[in-house]
């Protein structure tokens, strides 16, 4: 029977993905970019939709939520997984609403007016069965996948609107989005890039070699020199790991210092982030989402006896408050940080914020 085979095949794929996530986060497995993770998650969700037996939208959402919880728990710092799951859940809701015939906006948000007039009819349990629902959902997920394919190019296309000639641009660490952005601008403009190396992982080195091979004048500086050279920098362009719901960032460590230095010199700080990095989480306390890796990167074991007497920290991420950010550039255009909450409401349904 094809059914069980497909199901075991599916569970295998899910398990493989989960173990990849777990290994990737600790730095030992293959490092994957966020775009790749997003794509794989979406592909996996499409497979689940296609292969798991479900009768109504509610069932499907339950299954996806369950799998989604497991996937998020495998690597909590990898928020793109959770974001994709919420996107797919929203797709399912929309398709269901369309199949039912009601307009999308009516079911969208709870408003005071609706609460008073409808009086509880906004309860939706997604129990109706529609034959075309499966096909519609899969088609919508395919559209989502196509959108994901094109995010980097969409962002890179906007580069010429933001970079003029003879500029000095500063960036930190390695972001594939920023790399594509700068390379696209370099085809028509001449400018200079300063890369902060971002110890201890020193990913800035890779970024610098890659940019200089494309003909961009690049300089590598140490993290300690960020404030010293900031007075000659015209723009700061960075990538990020996650965009939080209040417009703040969770980015690689050292970004907060960079943002403070840019603010001090009134240098605009531009964040290139595709929409799948937008997460409905709010930052509640500064340390609730910190991730640490082995302190061996900071103080190697060769240092000897002092290791047992010293605390060593090696945080991976930094929180940057939205007041320090000037502009977000995403695949759907540029926005101010104060607009992020609105975009979030378009992408995710409020009931899905908690998986």
């Amino acid at each position: 029977m094809p059914g069980p085979y497909r199901e075991t095949d599916l569970t295998e794929k899910v398990e493989a993905f989960l173990s990849d996530l777990k290994r990737g986060g600790s730095g030992t497995g293959p490092l994957r970019g966020s775009a790749e993770t997003a794509r794989e998650t979406t592909a996996l969700l499409r497979r689940i939709t296609a292969q798991v037996r479900w009768s109504s939208a509610g069932d499907l959402m339950e299954v996806i939520r369950k799998e989604g919880r497991r996937m998020s728990a495998a690597q909590p710092s990898e928020t793109t997984v959770g974001n994709m799951i919420r996107r797919v859940l929203k797709i399912i809701r929309e398709e269901y609403a369309r199949s039912r015939g009601s307009s999308e906006e009516a079911d969208q948000q709870e408003s005071l007016h609706k609460l008073l007039t409808s009086g509880g009819l906004s309860e939706e349990n997604f129990r109706q069965y529609f034959t075309a629902l499966k096909a519609n959902v899969i088609e919508a997920i395919n559209e989502l996948l196509t959108e994901l394919e094109g995010t980097t190019d969409n962002i890179a296309m906007q580069a010429l609107e933001h970079i003029h000639s003879n500029e000095v641009i500063m960036t930190i660490g390695r972001s594939r989005t920023v790399e594509a952005f700068l390379k696209d601008a370099a085809r028509k403009r001449k400018f200079h890039v300063i890369v902060a190396e971002c110890a201890p992982f020193c990913q800035g080195h890779e970024m610098a070699t890659s940019l200089s091979k494309d003909g961009i004048e690049t300089t590598v500086i140490t993290d300690a020199a960020i404030f010293a050279v900031m007075s000659r920098v015209n723009k700061v362009i960075i990538g990020t790991q996650t965009v939080l719901a209040n417009g703040g960032l969770r980015a690689v460590n050292g970004t907060h210092t960079l943002a403070l230095a840019a603010k001090h010199h009134s240098t605009p700080l531009i964040v290139c982030a595709p929409m799948f990095k937008l997460s409905p989480q709010f930052p509640n306390e500064e340390d609730t989402f910190h991730k640490f890796v082995s302190p061996h990167e900071v103080l190697p074991f060769t240092e000897g006896e002092i290791l047992s007497k010293v605390n060593v920290h090696c945080p991976v991420f930094d929180y940057v408050p939205p007041e320090l950010i000037t502009l977000f550039i995403s695949n759907i255009g540029g926005h101010a940080p104060s607009y992020i909450y609105r975009l979030m409401s378009e992408l995710y349904h409020p009931e899905d914020h908690e998986l």
């Binding site: 971002c198 590598v220 020199a225 010293a228 050279v229 000659r232 920290h313």
Partner: protein
Amino acid sequence: MQIEGKELTKEEKQRLRKEKKQQKKGKEKKDASLPQVSVAETAAPASQLKAERRARQEAERTSKQSKKGDTGQPATTSKPKIPPNELQPGTQNTWSDHPHHMLYLIKQWLSPEIFFFQIPRRLDYGYKVSLFSHLLQYSRKAPLTQQLSIPSAVIHPAIVRLGLQYSQGIVAGSNARSIALLHAFKQVISDYTTPSNEELSRDLVNKLKPYISFLNQCRPLSASMGNAIKYIKKEISNIPSQFKEDDAKKKLLNCIECFIEEKIVLAAKAIAKSSIEKINDGDVILVYGCSSLVNHILCEAFEKGRKFRVIVVDSRPRLEGREALRRLVQKGISCTYVLISAVSYILPEVSKVFLGAHALLANGYVMSRVGTSQIALVAKAFNVPVLVCCETYKFCERVQTDSFVSNELDDPDDLIVTRKGETQLKDWQQVPRLGLLNLVYDVTPPDFVDLVITDLGMIPCTSVPVVLRVKNVDLL
């Protein structure tokens, strides 16, 4: 150059003539020392340097013994890594024993060039970032003394050793460098003899000029060293002309001792005393890099019984914080260690920031190790008080508003790192548009600094020109 390796100067020539007149007895005709010296010339520069030093030491020894009792042993610098000169065992022969030969050599080799020896310019290394192309950038692997041999006739061996120690980073830190410089100058002064037609006060100052330019080529002078040199020059030129040479030298050595004692050692004690009032029990103190003064303060406070813990922030490529960490842990202070990129993570725990300074500029800016201004910036954003500790001899009359115009560029190869078996920047020289920037200093604006603790008391950053003015009035 024909005059390579010649150990004779005008003073020695004079001394030898005197000895020739004094010694009428027969001498041993062993020419052992001479050929040894000439053989050493053809050997590698390092051993040549040693042979020169050896031979010169012998000459000094015998000349001193012939005049009067030997007073000065060569003063050791604070961190001697090169072993002290070894004397050839048992030989009594020096050039003073062979005056005829000496005279011949003197006549043959003495030429005007030896007195107008120009210190050759050290070559720049690697691609320089355009914003800093007015500064010099050297490689640590090619020190000045390897590119040519410095005849010890022109540069005193103690100065050569000091220059090497500076360029290799063996002596680092503004206090250590100043103390090493002063010790080397003590050695130079005690070995100095006034030529017959010259005055000590003028000639010695002229003698110091090539030394200073040599040291500058090895590593640009720091502000503290500049102030120390100014002080010495002033003292030398103030020697009254009726002083006998030995008295003058004794006075100068005494002055240098006083300078070190007052301005560095006692100042540290005074600063430690005032800083301890600022450290309370339960404090979490953040320090950056390795400042001898700040370490001293923390150790003193710990000994006095204050309960606090320290967070040491470090940065690549120098990683000086590890040295500070070792010293503090040895004392028993509980420490945490992070890199500078994690400073905004760790700062909410911190109650005070103690920073050391390389120099304090007359417009109130603090010149210090690169990264200090960043720490002060983030501390300000988190409302944590920033205290800078600095002795008054580091106050400088220069003014600077950014870190570009006058700075020091270190070896760019230091930025290269190998992680997980891959060295990304290994061939950075081949890539045409890639530059590595290794800055050494940066300036912190005075609005980031809350207090400056000096040996004259606790002053705000803006009072630095007042202190300078008071100091200058004193010196007059």
